[in-house]
Amino acid sequence: MMHPVALSLCMAALLTALLAPPAAAQVPDEVLKAEAQRIEMLKKAGAATVAIFGKGGQGGGSGVCISPDGYVLSNFHVTSASPHLKVGMTDGNLYDAVMVGLDPTGDVALIKLLGRDDFPHAPLGNSDEVRVGDGCYAIGNPFLLATDFQPTVTYGIVSGIHRYQYPAGTLLEYADCIQADAAINPGNSGGPLFNERGEVIGINGRGSFEKRGRVNVGVGYAISINQIKNFMGYLKSGRIVDHATVGAQVATSDDGRVLVTNILESSDAYRRGLRYGDEIESFGGRRIRTTNALKNVLGTFPKGWRVPLAFRHDGKLYETYVRLDGVHREGELAAMVAGSGRQQRNPRQQPRPGDDPNPRPMPRPEQPKDDDEDKDNEKELPPGHPPVNAAQQKLPEIVEKVYEAREGFANYYFNRINQERIWDKLISHGDFTGLQGAWTIKAEAAGGLESTFELSDALVVATLPGGKVEMPIDSKNPSLGTNLDPLGSGGLFASLHLWRRFLTGGINNFGNLYYLGTVPVPGQDELYDCLVGVYGGVECRLLFEPELGRLAVLEMFPAGNVDPCELHFLEYQEKDGRMVPARIEVRHGDAVFQVYKVNEITLSKAAE
């Protein structure tokens, strides 16, 4: 005997089953709302996603626009070093784009769309917050289907985080990447991986394609957006940028500690005290428990960054900052990039540079390291046609205006405009050009002791508590690295000379000068713009405050493998309409050499 309520419920169920149209009438509002939000989010995300086409519409991949002025992220293996690319957007337009910067090791390319200042763009997320199981969307141009520029959306979940994928040769290393099961196929390369809020959390670049043919097998890898954020300033510099090494090898011990098994005595890590057998505690702010964890963190940093390191030596914990060296030798990357265009054409016929003839020792098994070569669709030219050389092709006018070829640069134009940007900002706080006469600085060191520095083109004269010291400078054949006086400063006199030289001469008269990108400064949260200049046999790094643009730090490296002399301009004061330093801290190695309080500063014009 059925209870009447139960019976009526059954009737209701039956009626529902019979009468309910397949439409959404029964779906809770909450679900419909979530669906509508998702459709809206994907519309926006799709509008920022671009289809990138190779020359003559052959080959290509995906990308994502990240700013209204048209900066687009993609993979290096999609764009190669082409100065000019054609990019399709969902508005149906095919835009011209210019190469900006390349990170061949990290497989990242930054290009810029031309012709508008209001491009639809996607916000960047925080990939450190991504969790396994989070929903994600890969949007892009798989199998180059987007002939109408409408991208394909695939849904998945995050399958793994902090994944390390071995490089193919010395390039295309995927460190700290996001693994997702959203279908990622050839052509998706360079396209964005979105979280459920429509923020870019990664750039899809790689899949595990093995015996099943070159299609998705539920394992795709995206370069984490936080790594790309670290590199963003470098990429915008128009350079071909390098990844970093710490100059030490490590191994995971049986009890789960990461120990130094080899260290270069020329490395900054060695100068900071790291030795064979020391235990790495944390690096780049992340706790290190495995070799892979260290490789992961290291892979997210560009060459030349200063990164926090904590290590244990003889049981005692040391916390310091280490300067990271490059993975590649000078010019090596540029040469690889120049050769890359051809190298990747026929990947099936020839072993890839990363193919290891010997099986990897246990327990690290052979990695699924196939990157997708999105140039597969590239057709051979008909017989009799001479091969097309991209560099020889005439660029469209709109591209030519923003492209400057130069050795070692993806596009020097962007380096130059960044130098100009920094300079313009700097002189808004005071223009020192024309003040080529003697500069006199009266300063008070710790304990109230007075020092006076007189700077001119050919001479530094310092009146210190211990007496008067002179450092003559042969302007025809300057050699600043040979005099590192005063003792213990690492080259204070030479650094002051370079400071005056930069301020009075500007970006065009300093020597060989370029924009490095943005770098961290110990103790500061934000990244600083960095110019690198070479003059008088030394390398000089100039760091500028974010937003304000004042000169914050000058570092003078007298040689390759020694600690620089660092001038930290801690406070500024106004003097004759110009902001001049009020307090200068001089550091060398791990020590503060001196802190000078500037009491009086006299800047004179060039003698007639």
Binding site: A34, S159, G160, N292, R360
Partner: protein, 358 residues
């Protein structure tokens, strides 16, 4: 054990602990359909990272033999007891005395092979441990087609040390028998499988866990299976209910590898291969696979139907034979007056023969 049928109707409910009342079901039936179409239920999506976090400590990474031409030296597994029993697939990876297991927290342990049943392609390993997080085989549920599932495995060996297993999402497409595809898929397993709509069965994924969106164990991911007719690949898991009895037997001491210390007394007058009419392949390796080279005409082996190239798997059902040496050793425990049952693999077929003594 009384397996409970688990449907996904409650997946949309925020209270995962309680079963829906009939009244709630009416609305949910329709809603569930819509949510399935969307691919994910809003509530489950919110909980997914948390759920996965709770499952990861049960997963292990297994390293063993292989590492050359197309043979990965790793596979997946999961803990099924607090004392360190691990369920995984039986494969060449385990055919070594050096099996290493990485727990989710990065602990590296040496594992011993407790036992295996190649007929079900299942093996149980054991590592030292106490109070380890594990799946309870007694709590297994059955699943229907349409059930949303997660597959946890170390596919492609992506993770090592303290890196967690990979997680994929999908839906059970159908529950069917592999038997129907005899001669197509190269596997001795003939029982029911869950076919999954996601590409879960990749290199190294075998031995992974298939769970529903509540984290309940449904099955163990199988090997990579290629359909030799159309070159497509099957993504499947073996329901735990198919394995449970065998796993219990293995843990209780059945299906043990012959190499383990054997307390049985030797037979005074044991069998030997010559008397049975069997010639094995030359024993040239530390572990020469027990392939039969020749069968003497008119011998007990011949009369039973044994043929050259047969691979011996078991003697008398329970003793797992991994080498020519092990086969000889095993025969030394059996009196020559007793019949012998041999389980062999011939091509892709699993056959059993009883050899009558003379």
């Amino acid at each position: 054990m009384n397996p409970r049928t688990d449907t996904e109707y409650t997946a949309g409910s925020r209270d995962h602990g309680s079963r829906p009342r009939p009244a709630a079901l009416v609305g949910l039936i329709a809603a569930a359909g819509a949510w399935l179409a969307l691919g994910v239920t809003p509530a489950a999506a919110n909980d997914l990272p948390k759920l996965i976090e709770s499952l990861q400590p049960k997963m292990v990474k297994i390293y063993g033999a292989g590492g050359f031409q197309g043979l990965e030296a790793y596979q997946s597994g999961f803990l099924i007891s607090g004392e360190g029993h691990i369920l995984t697939i039986w494969s060449y990876v385990l055919d070594t005395s050096y099996i290493t297991v990485h727990l989710d927290n990065g602990t590296r342990l040496k594992a011993e092979l407790v036992g295996a049943d190649p007929r079900l392609e299942v093996a149980v390993l054991k590592v030292e441990g106490q109070g380890l997080d594990h799946f309870d085989l007694g709590q297994v549920v059955e699943a229907e087609p349409g059930t949303q599932v997660l597959a946890l495995s170390n596919l492609y060996g992506v993770a090592t040390g303290d890196e967690s297993a990979s997680v994929q999402h999908g839906v059970i497409s159908v529950k069917t028998r592999l038997e129907a595809r005899r001669g197509v898929f190269e596997t001795p397993y003939r029982g029911p499988v869950y076919v999954i709509d996601a590409v879960t069965n990749n290199p190294g994924a075998g031995g992974g866990a298939l769970v529903n969106r509540r984290g309940q164990l449904l099955g163990m991911l199988g090997k990579e299976l290629r359909n030799s007719r159309d070159n497509t690949w099957l993504n499947y898991a073996v329901p735990i209910s198919e394995l449970e009895q065998t796993v219990t037997d293995i843990i209780d001491g059945k299906f043990v590898p012959t190499e383990q210390a054997d307390p049985r007394p030797k037979a005074e007058q044991p069998h030997d291969l010559g008397r049975l009419g069997i010639v094995m392949v030359p024993d040239v390796l530390a572990r020469t696979p027990p392939f039969i080279d020749e069968v003497r005409k008119g011998s007990p082996a011949d009369e039973a139907g044994i043929r050259p190239d047969d691979l011996v798997l078991f003697v008398n059902d329970e003793r797992l034979i991994q080498s020519c040496k092990a086969l000889k050793e095993e025969l030394s425990y059996i009196d020559r007056d007793d019949p012998i049952k041999l389980t062999i693999i011939r091509g892709q077929e699993l056959l059993e023969f009883t050899l009558e003594p003379r």
